[in-house]
Each structure stands twice: as C-alpha cells, then as structure tokens.
C-alpha cells in the first residue's frame, strides 16, 4: 500500500467503525493478528478515477453480527441480524473507501466506486501479510488496499 493511502486508511477505518457501528476500534499490532484459518469473511470494492484500485475488508462472522446489530439498532438475537451481517460489512467497506479516497486525494477529484461484493477467499493470506489490522471491540478486522 502507498504511505498516503495507508495513513488515510488507518484514520478513516477507525472513525467509520466508531461512527457508523458504535465500535471501539484501534490499531492491532501484527503480532496479535490471527493466523491460519480464522474463519474470515471478506468484501471487496473497486474504484476508478484519477487512480484505480481496490480495497478489501476481512473479519469474523461474530463481528459481522455485531456490525449489523449496532447499525440497525437491535439486539444480536434479532432475526434481522442473521440476514444483514455481510451487507453491513459491505456498507462499512463502502463508507471507509469513499471517505478514504477523499482523505488521501482531497475533495476535488471524482472517483467512481463500484458496488461492493464478496472477496475471493484465495486472496486472504496475501492480504494478511500486506494489510492493516485493527481491533474492533476485540474482534480482528483486516483492511487491504491496492492501487492499479
């Protein structure tokens, strides 16, 4: 990741998780990050404009349920949470990416964001090496950003 985008991502991802999903988020040292098969679920969004690239987010089903519950303002036991976990993750990625692009490039350039979709699981290991880890209410969240 470029330093500018990495810095923007570190600031924006924590802010969005706090503001949109009411989670306490902070950077996670790589040494504390999960390894092996940690049951990660991922979403990806691509953008084009003055630069083109992609961003991915990975986390656990437990965090997806928490995201959905907090964003909808319901208990985790609410039936709506079961169907909304991945949608909540996609929307967090959408908000992080839109805000991150403005943070990194300023409010002038126009970027086109595609609709977020499921991430290819085969990319997880490489993303874990190159990405940025945060802890959100003690759940691991991995962000990866690449510029074409």
């Amino acid at each position: 990741m470029s330093d500018e985008v990495r810095e923007a991502l570190e600031i924006v991802s924590v802010r969005i998780l706090e503001e949109a999903a009411f989670l306490f988020a902070d950077a996670m040292p790589p040494a504390s990050a999960p390894t092996g098969n940690w049951g990660a679920v991922g979403a990806e969004i691509r953008w084009s404009g003055p630069s083109s690239g992609a961003m991915r987010v990975w986390s656990t089903q437990a965090l997806l349920r928490l995201l959905a519950a907090n964003m909808l303002g319901v208990e985790e036991s609410d039936p709506a949470v079961n169907a909304s976990g991945f949608d909540a993750l996609r929307e967090i990625l959408n908000m992080v990416t839109g805000n991150c692009l403005t943070e990194a490039w300023g409010p002038g350039p126009v970027f086109h964001l595609e609709i977020p979709r499921a991430a290819d699981q085969s990319l997880l290991a490489a993303d874990a090496e190159a990405g940025f880890w945060i802890s959100a209410d003690d759940h691991p969240v991995l962000f990866w950003n690449g510029i074409a």
């Binding site: 949109a20 909808l72 169907a83 949608d87 959408n94």
Partner: protein
C-alpha cells in the same frame, strides 16, 4: 400528520439504520417507503405521494444521479425534492448533482440530528 419519506438504497442495513435514525431524531413520520434502486423508486413515486426522497448514488440497475435526472424530466415528479445520502466526497460530483436538481446532500456515516436538519432545510421546520 408527518413526513412521507422514500428511502432508496441497495443496502437493507443502511435503510434499516436510517429508519432507526428517524426514530432517534424524533421526526414526525407518517410513512417510510423503501426502494432498492432508482427504478423501484420511480415506480413508487408514480403511484403514491412522497414528501421527500433520500437516495444513495451507487446502486444496481439505476443509481441516484439517474433517478434525479429521470424525476426532474417528468412533469408529474419534478417538484419532489430528492436529497442524496452517500459516501461521495468529491465537491465536483456534489456540484454536478446540484446542477441536475439534487435538493441537498449528506455524507455517510451521518448522525440522526444531521438527517433531521436536512429534512428541516428541505421541507421546513415541522409545526
């Protein structure tokens, strides 16, 4: 009597969060109608009274900018205010949306009081 609002977003979570925000902001709501994209929104607008549309930009089939253009070119729909709630941060893009008829704009994530203030700016203070 209160507002009749049409929420247009392809995310069930975002529509649910906005409904929750209306409640937290204690906004007087008659009805909150929901659509998943611009095409569904146009169908709603043609069959029932809506005070204001709150729409996302990036959606499948028909996005928010196309929805605004379509509504503003239809004499029966052109006076319905359409505000955008989106992750868009480009001043250039927001200015372009205003030029095609966007009534107001909020950036996601937004707080309940920001949504309340937007409705007051566009529709006036509720008496």
């Amino acid at each position: 009597m209160g507002y009749t609002v049409l929420l247009v977003d392809d995310s069930d979570t975002i529509r649910g969060a906005l409904v929750k925000a209306f409640s937290m902001a204690k906004l007087p709501m008659d009805e909150v109608v929901q659509a998943r994209d611009g095409q569904e929104a146009l169908e709603v607008l043609k069959r029932q009274w809506i005070d204001i549309v709150l729409t996302d930009i990036n959606m499948p089939r028909m996005g928010g900018e196309e929805l605004i253009r379509a509504a503003k070119s239809d004499p029966s729909l052109k006076d319905i205010p359409i505000a955008v709630i989106s992750t868009e941060g480009s001043r250039t893009r927001i200015d372009a949306l205003r030029e095609v008829g966007m009534a107001d704009y909020l950036r996601k994530p937004c707080r309940p009081e920001e949504i309340r203030d937007l409705l007051h700016r566009v529709l006036g203070e509720w008496q």
